[in-house]
């Protein structure tokens, strides 16, 4: 990176460190922090949408729909989340390939599961066998993202379902008295009012989502945990210009501090948002604000 980095073996102290921390691999390490943020930025709204769908389904009057919604909320909560992560990544992949197989190769006569193998026709492979490397990586990331969204969607559905029930019932009765249909009541009365009740749960969920991001590593994405293990491992002078001992402990300490900082910043921001939303509300929080002002 810097001009004086040409021959690292002559450097010592801080100059050595400045060169060491700007190698190509370290740049990949820093980029992987971006991957984590990207995952959060995409997953949070997707999970919220899934959660909204789940909660709406659980409130439905159509029984199978209601059972589906309630089942979705319940099943993800009783089982360790990482079991779901490990499960969905393979299951989704095989599910997509199976669907494409049914559509693209209707005249295939062999069974798909042959012993320990999962065999679909060439055209149904995802991504296609001749696709470039980056497509494989993007596909892996998308699968991981979808998995996160499904699992966290269930948690969000739980929060939103609770929030929908917290909206005062008189509001819904009034809407009915005005002649609104069920659909109108849902969209015009229930949904706009539920967010205040949902925010504490959702902000909690955001914290949990932040803390779940290192699990990307288990899904085969080259994320910060992957790079911390790679870069921290003992570097042999034969293979690298920057030999060092086993530094993995320090790399993970850095990750720990990164997450602590991230959590702290989120806490402060969410607290401010909550202050804004409760302002003027007829809740204990709003009442406390009013008293403090006078």
């Amino acid at each position: 990176m810097f001009s004086y980095c040409a021959d690292p073996s002559t450097l010592t102290g801080l100059t050595w460190l400045s060169c060491y921390l700007t190698t190509g691999k370290h740049m990949a390490f820093y980029t992987s922090f971006g991957v984590v943020l990207l995952l959060l930025a995409i997953t949070a709204p997707t999970a919220l949408a899934f959660g909204f769908g789940g909660a709406a389904a659980a409130r439905s009057r159509f029984l199978p729909m209601q059972l589906f919604g309630k089942g979705y909320i319940a099943i993800v909560r009783g089982v360790p989340d990482i079991a779901f992560f490990l499960f969905f990544v393979i299951a989704l992949d095989q599910g997509f390939e199976w669907l494409r197989h049914q559509v693209l190769c209707p005249d295939w006569d062999q069974p798909i599961r042959q012993g320990n193998d999962f065999v679909v026709c060439q055209a149904a492979k995802l991504p296609l066998g001749n696709a470039p490397q980056w497509i494989h990586e993007v596909y892996g990331f998308l699968l991981a993202m979808l998995t996160f969204a499904i699992v966290f969607g269930a948690f969000a559905a739980n929060v939103l379902f609770g929030a929908m029930r917290a909206v005062p019932h008189a509001q819904l009765e009034t809407a009915e008295a005005y002649g609104m249909t069920r659909r109108q009541t849902f969209w015009r009365i229930l949904v706009p009012q539920m967010w205040v009740y949902a925010l504490p749960g959702l902000s909690n969920l955001w914290m949990v989502l932040i803390k779940a991001t290192p699990l990307l590593f288990l899904l085969g994405v080259e994320d910060i945990v992957y790079w911390a293990r790679e870069l921290g491992a003992t570097a042999n002078p034969r293979f690298t210009q920057y030999p060092h001992g086993d530094w993995r402990m320090w790399y993970f300490l850095a990750l720990l501090i990164f997450y602590l900082g991230f959590t702290r910043v989120s806490e402060v921001l969410l607290e401010r948002l909550m202050q804004k939303l409760t302002h003027g509300q007829a809740t204990t929080g709003g009442e406390a604000q009013r008293k403090a002002a006078t």
Binding site: R77, A83, F155, K211
Partner: protein, 268 residues
């Protein structure tokens, strides 16, 4: 090979008793159920010991955060913040590599790099922090009148804590603490995926489930088995904690007694 033989061979495989080699091909349903169940012993080991030991540290941390002593309060707050604010997965990794570095200097730390001790310590500290926060919240909501009545009866110091404050704190914290216990058991599945090696393939339930999923390339059998085991475990925890809850609330008038209302809505 009958299923009974499989159970005899693999029932305690996770502890290193029985058949040495894991099945390699022609996996039967019985083998999967037996091995995953055998791995569950580790989850129960980690969960029970961490919960029992963490309980005491959690009480201490909650009292520390509640105390008027600035040093004690700050120390407890930081402890809680560090363990609640960072992912358990990273904590496992950090602890494992930290113990490994220590091991190369002091041979005393040799057992700490094994999962049975090292991971247990991390889980112990982690659950102490989460439960400490729960207990702290409960301490803050102890009815003022209870403590004033204790003062009026001449209770003070240890006797007041032991007879009045502590039982009330537990009573108030118990539903949330039940939740924490459930999630602690779920969190034990992370151990063997986070640096700690499964020595001689003695792993926990998820370790074996993912072993089968990798070998058969079919996730639709081992993971539902695992899910079934965990749902049973969760129901067992709820039953046990419900009994304790009943005992904690036994002095209350019948109408005020509420069943254990538990809401699972978070993972760590």
């Amino acid at each position: 090979m009958s299923c009974w033989e499989t159970i005899a061979d693999y029932g305690l495989r996770s502890l290193g008793i029985g058949e040495r080699l894991l099945p390699r091909e022609n996996f039967t349903l019985c083998q999967q159920v037996t091995l995953i169940g055998s791995g569950l012993l580790w989850n129960i080991y980690f969960g029970v010991l961490a919960l029992l030991s963490g309980f005491f540290l959690a009480t201490a941390v909650a009292l520390g955060k509640f105390s008027n002593n600035r040093v004690l309060r700050k120390a407890s707050e930081w402890f809680i913040f560090v363990f609640r604010g960072s992912p358990l997965f990273i904590q496992f990794f950090f602890a494992y590599f930290a113990f490994q570095s220590l091991k190369s200097v002091y041979p005393f730390f040799d057992p700490f790099t094994a999962a049975w001790l090292g991971a247990l310590i991390v889980l112990f500290l982690n659950t102490a922090a989460y439960s400490g926060e729960i207990f702290y919240g409960a301490l803050r909501s102890i009815p003022k009148g209870d403590v004033e009545a204790a003062d009026a009866y001449g209770f003070s110091g240890w006797a007041r804590f032991r007879r009045i404050v502590w039982p009330t704190m537990l009573r108030l914290a118990w539903p949330a603490y039940t939740n924490e216990a459930i999630f602690l058991f779920h969190a034990t599945t992370l151990v063997f995926f986070s640096g700690f090696p499964a020595w001689q393939q003695r792993g926990d339930a998820l370790y074996y489930a993912s072993y089968f999923a990798d070998k058969t390339f079919n996730p639709f059998v081992p993971y539902p088995i695992l899910a079934g085991y965990f749902i049973l475990l969760t129901l067992l925890i709820i039953a046990i904690f419900g009994l304790i809850n009943k005992r904690l609330n036994r002095h209350l008038p019948q109408a005020a007694k509420r069943g254990l209302k538990f809401r699972m809505n978070l993972i760590r």
